[in-house]
Structure formats: structure tokens, C-alpha cells
């Protein structure tokens, strides 16, 4: 019995260390939320298109060929930093990118695109932020890869770097 009391705390300590160590070693980042939308049909869209009066961006705009859906905003620093890579993808690789400007102002957005360039085939204005919530987006930038049938194949939270960009280009080629 006495031995049991001596070894029990040690056993609990070793057990807990192992458990916590495993979670730590798995490299899981608790700030990124796994999306339940992966592999599902992308949520429907119906928002006003930027610079095209009367036009709406809808789910039909995400059908046909594999493409990227990039949630961004003119007020977002990492989005501006990511813009260069998106420009390369759109111009050099002919990748279709649909932009969704989250809680943005049309004038500010125009200024942003004039200054940085416009990689987007089409931009939808998510004024209420409810489209972002519908897509499970927690902040900008966030990028989704949608195949020709409108199924979400990839989701990237935060600014894309060169390697992640190349990965998306590969996946787009695989999907087409």
C-alpha cells in the first residue's frame, strides 16, 4: 500500500508529461480552427459585386474550373503583403481568384487595388461580414481552393507564403 502511494504521483506525472508532450510535439496550432467545410460544397454566395453595378457574386461564379476564393480587405496589412503573390498567380499561372472584400469601403478598396494591383477576376463586397461567417472565416486573409463543382478542397488561414502558393498551384492543377 505504501509503495502504491509513493509510485502513484510519479505515474500521474509521467502520464501527464507524455500526454502534454505528445500534443506539444504534434505541432497543432490552437489558433487555427479546422473547418468543418473541408470537402463540402462551398456555402452559397449572394453579395454585390465591386465596380459592377447591379451585378451579384453568386455560387454560380464558383463553378466551372478550380479556383481560389480569397477573403481580404483593404484595411488588412497581411492582405497587402500577400497581394504580390496573388498577382503572380493570376498573371503568370492564369489562376482565377475570386476576392471577397470583408467589411470594406468601395473607395478604400479602389485605392488599394490601384496601388497594389488587382489579381481578382471578380470581387464581392461582404459589407455585413456575414458571408465570412458563412464560410467559417475568422479573419482576413483566408484562402479557399474550390474545385469546378464548388467543393472546398483546401483552406489556408493567414498570409500565403511562396511555398504555400506553390502548393495551391499544384492542387489547382491536380483538380482540373
Amino acid at each position: 500500500m505504501k509503495r502504491f502511494f509513493v509510485w502513484m504521483p510519479l505515474a500521474i506525472f509521467v502520464g501527464l508529461t507524455g500526454l502534454l508532450g505528445e500534443v506539444l510535439a504534434s505541432g497543432r496550432d490552437p489558433s487555427t480552427i479546422a473547418t468543418p467545410l473541408m470537402g463540402e460544397t462551398a456555402p452559397d454566395l449572394d453579395i454585390a459585386a465591386f465596380n459592377q453595378p447591379g451585378r451579384h457574386v453568386t455560387g454560380d461564379d464558383l463553378r466551372g474550373k478550380p479556383q481560389l476564393v480569397n477573403f481580404f480587405a483593404s484595411w488588412c496589412g497581411p492582405c497587402a503583403a500577400e497581394n504580390k503573390l496573388l498577382m503572380q498567380m493570376a498573371e503568370d499561372q492564369h489562376i482565377r481568384i475570386v476576392g471577397i472584400a470583408m467589411k470594406d469601403d468601395a473607395d478604400a478598396l479602389q485605392g488599394y487595388l490601384d496601388k497594389r494591383g488587382n489579381p481578382y477576376a471578380l470581387i464581392g463586397l461582404d459589407e455585413s461580414g456575414h458571408t465570412a461567417i458563412d464560410w467559417g472565416v475568422s479573419g482576413v486573409p483566408e484562402t479557399f481552393l474550390v474545385d469546378g463543382k464548388g467543393t472546398i478542397l483546401e483552406r489556408h488561414v493567414g498570409q500565403l507564403d511562396g511555398e504555400e502558393g506553390r502548393h495551391l498551384i499544384e492542387r489547382l492543377k491536380d483538380a482540373s
Binding site: M1, K2, P30, S31, I33, A34, T35, P36, L37, P43, K103, S128, G129, H130, A132, I133, D134, W135, G136, S138, G139
Partner: protein
Amino acid sequence: MLLRISAVVVLCSLAAAQAVEPREMLANPVQEARARTISQELRCVVCQNESVDTSEAGIAHDMRVLIRQRVEAGDSDRQIIGYLRSRYGDFVLLQPPLEGRTLLLWAAPAIALGAGSVLVTLSLRYPRRRTRSTQGRTERPR
């Protein structure tokens, strides 16, 4: 002094209630109360440990507005929470659901209490020999 304490208490409670802005609120008090209960059960997805109800974050504001729109449209509490769960997963729930995967989590307090009770019972029933051997002895004067 009492006045000061009560002033601090009032100010603190005001601060806690500040996240919900007057312009967000619904005119119907019953619907507003429902919306607040729902948003208290949901986690603000960018602040890790704050509810949608108390968070000042932009997305929490958008969620509060969305919840209120849905309440007004006649959705049930379960439908609204289910909708946000289908978008953000269990992460958005402040209280994890009771299911197979979370059974250990929910059972942990009961298991700890049970194990503790067993240990206490055992140690009371079988006291250590040393305690028994000191019985009946007079203590040495200090």
C-alpha cells in the same frame, strides 16, 4: 467607503455589459434575452476565451448581429447554434458537447472524485501501523 465599493462594482458590471452596443439590441425584450443567451454560449473565434456576448472583436459584433437577425426571422436557439457549429466546428461552443469523443472529458471530475473517495476510505479503514503503535502512550513532555 461603501459608496466607493459599490461605484467600482457598478462600473465593472457596466464594462462587462458594454460589448453589446445599444444599436445591436432588438426592440423585443424576449427576443433580445434569447439572443444574449445564445451569444453567451458561443466563443468569440478570435479571442480564444471570451464569449461572443462579451467580446469587443469585430467578428463577435458581426455574429451578434447575425444571431439577432436569425432570432427575428424565427429560427430556434438550436438552429442558430447548429448553424454556427456547422461553420466553425465545436470550437465555437464554449461548452463542449457530450458525445463519445468527449466522454472522458466530461467524466473526468466524477472519476477524480471517485478515485479520491476510494483513497480516503482505504486510508481511514486501514490506518498506518505507526499510528496504531503510538496509541496508549503518553507524550513526552516538551
